[in-house]
């Protein structure tokens, strides 16, 4: 399943790239893209575990860029 989320206060392009790398490494994530320009996160992940995976993604992003929030 693929879902898109808005990102708030994603201020640096390098962090966006780092977030993307971190998310892609997570278990259950098939694909992920962080678009700095659109301020959007696109995640393709296991449908049954999606919510749980999203929690993990949020945690991973907090580590890279604590100012940025994912709107779920």
């Amino acid at each position: 399943m693929t879902k898109r989320f808005k990102l708030i206060d994603l201020d640096c392009a390098n962090c966006a790239a780092k977030m993307e790398t971190a998310i892609k490494k997570l278990d259950g994530v098939e694909d992920a893209a962080v678009s700095f320009m659109m301020q959007k996160l696109t995640v393709t992940a296991d449908e049954g575990r999606f919510e749980e995976i999203m929690d993990q993604i949020e945690k991973a992003c907090k580590k890279v860029e604590p100012d940025c929030r994912i709107v779920r």
């Binding site: 390098n14 993307e20 790398t21 678009s35 659109m38 301020q39 580590k63 890279v64």
Partner: protein, 617 residues
């Protein structure tokens, strides 16, 4: 400017004032550095805070950390008498100015793109039981009736049931020529109604309508990253640690042999200032975003940076003929009767084909002028791939291609005309032939010419006869033609062309997107034309031309090449300046001042250069 940016600007101004004040204070004692602390913290407290926080999160080499280290280091060397305190504050100040500018420029181009993609309708006037109410377009059901007044956007795809008007499709196609519509015609969402009131029956719910599809496509385009983008991301991952290691080596190794620790530590700190890859990381996606946004304003939807790259690298464009280079409208161009008048021959052909709805049959009926009297037509038999055999007024009329004539033993002349030839025989005797040809689009010739001027080879694929295909090729100036291809044969031909290729050029295929989806996906870049109102085409292609003008193709290639050129300029410029500054710093020629100028300056210039991509022409 956002509120955050305004706060930042204020901090920068206050910091600058404090810095100047501190420089002017005539105190030279050991506590002099304390004079600069207020300015330093005013400008850079958030950088320091983030550096600490990110280290706690295991993010070591981020820009905050590097800036914190470089400026703190400058303070320390200043304390030991080797450097200057103002330097530390100034570097931080300038870094913040750069960040502010970057945020502002990115926000601005983001807004200008979303404004040109301002297709989303705010409301729909839904008619229920004679009452009209404004509702959210998402709440309008399929089959509902909406009223669109002049000046309003058509909110959902539908069919006009009452009224006539002209529509401005510029937001969708980039075409300023208004299009007139009347009852019975389907209208796409996103057009602006110009003159009359229209009552429209909704055919698709909002999520499935043209507007939603286009917005979706443009918004997703930035998640399909170009090679250049991935390269930069990878590069950034190695660049920063490499420069930091270089800085450490520079601080330790030369002084072991030559002494002068303070001086080398200073040079090392300057390294750190240049180590941020921001200019690259920001300007590359910004350029692609601008290019894609600028193209969409012209009615060209490019589904990702990767496709833009491929389009820019295209050195062969393969066209499908019908509906792409030609109008896809067949017209009778020549009538050659034998033993009867032109009118009689046309009448016979029209009667024979009266049961068929093939485009050729329609053009025969049109040329004859109206619906033929079907009561004169008796038993009809469709002969697949050859034509029809029909009883007309008790006579057996055969209409079809040469094979059919050969089969029934009617002798027909050799034909070299361009177009589809319909031979007619009555009771086994040859009665003449009618030539039906597709009309070339007005701008096909110019489009092909422009592609060739750009060094792009053009190829045409068609299911038409050799004569028809070659005539069109000659007229348009196309390099290569492959005729008499079945739809499956087109895939094979594109595969063959792909197989014959060497080098880095890409192959683009242009079709109408309706029955050539397999070819579109097989080519390096699949381009669908005239996609307005055709969902299948929008789905299948990598690049979508909303209107059906071949000249938009060369425009798409021009925009792509320009964007890629901007991306390359930025990559080389940023890498070049950074490399130069690193070198000069290691040699001790430049100091921290110049380094921060170079770093922020490069970023500002790269961002400004990237915003050029938006103004596509």
């Amino acid at each position: 400017m956002t509120k955050r940016q305004k706060t930042m600007l204020l901090r920068i101004i206050i910091g600058a004032v404090l810095l100047i004040a501190a420089v002017l204070v005539p105190y030279e004692g050991p506590w002099r550095f304390a004079l600069f602390l207020p300015a330093y913290f005013t400008v850079g407290w958030d950088v320091l805070w983030r550096a600490v926080r990110n280290i706690a999160n295991g993010q070591v080499f981020d820009e905050n950390f590097l800036m914190a280290l470089a400026t703190m280091g400058a303070f320390c060397t200043g304390f030991f008498g080797e450097g200057e305190y103002p330097e530390a504050v100034f570097v931080m100040l300038f870094y913040q100015v750069g960040e502010l500018f970057q945020g502002y420029a990115v926000g601005k181009s983001r807004r200008s793109i979303s404004s040109l993609m301002d297709l989303r309708p705010d409301y729909a006037n839904l008619e229920t039981d004679g009452e009209v109410a404004q509702v959210d377009p998402e709440d309008v059901p399929v089959g509902g009736v909406i009223v669109v007044k002049p000046g309003e956007k058509i909110p959902l795809d539908g069919t006009v049931i009452e009224g006539s008007s002209t529509l401005n499709t510029a937001a969708l196609t980039g075409e300023s020529m208004p299009r007139s519509v009347g009852a019975g015609e389907s209208v796409p969402s996103g057009c602006v109604n110009l003159s009359g009131v229209l009552r429209i029956r909704v055919e698709k719910e909002f999520g499935e309508s043209t507007v939603a599809k286009i917005l979706d496509l443009v918004e997703n385009a930035s998640s399909k990253k170009a090679r250049a983008e991935n390269f930069i991301t990878r590069f950034a991952r190695y660049y920063t640690p490499a420069v930091v290691i270089g800085a450490v080596l520079l601080a330790v190794i030369p002084p072991l042999f030559m002494g002068g620790w303070g001086q080398w530590v200073q040079r090392a700190l300057t390294f750190l200032v240049v180590s941020c890859p921001c200019a690259l990381v920001i300007s590359v996606p910004l350029s692609f975003f601008g290019g894609i946004g600028g193209a969409s304003r012209q009615g060209i939807l490019i589904k990702g940076g990767n496709y833009m790259e491929a389009l820019a690298a295209a050195d062969m464009v393969v066209f499908d003929k019908t509906g792409t280079l030609t109008q896809g409208v067949f017209k009778v161009t020549e009538i050659h009767p034998e033993g009867m008048s032109e009118k009689e021959l046309l009448e016979l052909a029209a009667l024979a084909e009266s049961w068929s709805d093939h485009p050729i049959s329609r053009s025969l009926k049109e040329a004859w002028g109206g619906e033929p009297d079907r009561s004169r037509v008796g038993e009809a038999e469709e002969l697949s791939g050859r034509g029809v055999r029909v009883q007309v007024d008790g006579r057996t009329v055969c209409a079809g291609n040469r094979r059919l004539m050969d089969e029934i033993g009617a002798r027909c002349p050799e034909n070299t005309a361009a177009g589809t030839v319909v031979h007619v025989a009555v009771d086994g005797a040859y009665a003449g032939h009618i030539i039906i040809a597709d009309q070339l689009k007005a701008d096909s010739k110019d489009a092909v010419k422009e592609l060739r001027e750009r060094g792009i080879k053009t190829v045409m694929l068609t299911g038409d006869s050799k004569a028809a295909g070659e005539a069109a090729t000659r007229e348009l100036g196309i390099d290569q033609v492959h005729t008499e291809l079945m739809p499956a044969g087109k895939v094979g031909m594109v595969e063959k062309l792909l197989g014959e290729r060497t080098g880095r050029g890409r192959l683009a295929f242009v079709g109408d997107g309706i029955n050539d989806a397999p070819v579109l996906s097989r080519a390096d870049v699949g381009i669908a034309m005239g996609a307005l109102g055709s969902d299948a085409a929008i789905e299948a292609a990598d690049v979508v031309l909303m209107d059906d003008k071949p000249s938009k193709l060369s425009l798409a290639i021009r925009i792509s090449r320009r964007t890629i050129a901007i991306v390359k300029e930025n990559i080389w410029f940023a890498l070049g300046v950074k490399g130069l500054v690193l070198l000069l710093t290691a040699l001790g020629v430049t100091g921290m001042w110049l380094a921060v100028f170079a770093d922020v300056g490069v970023m500002v210039l790269a961002v400004l250069n990237a915003t050029r991509a938006l103004s596509a022409r």
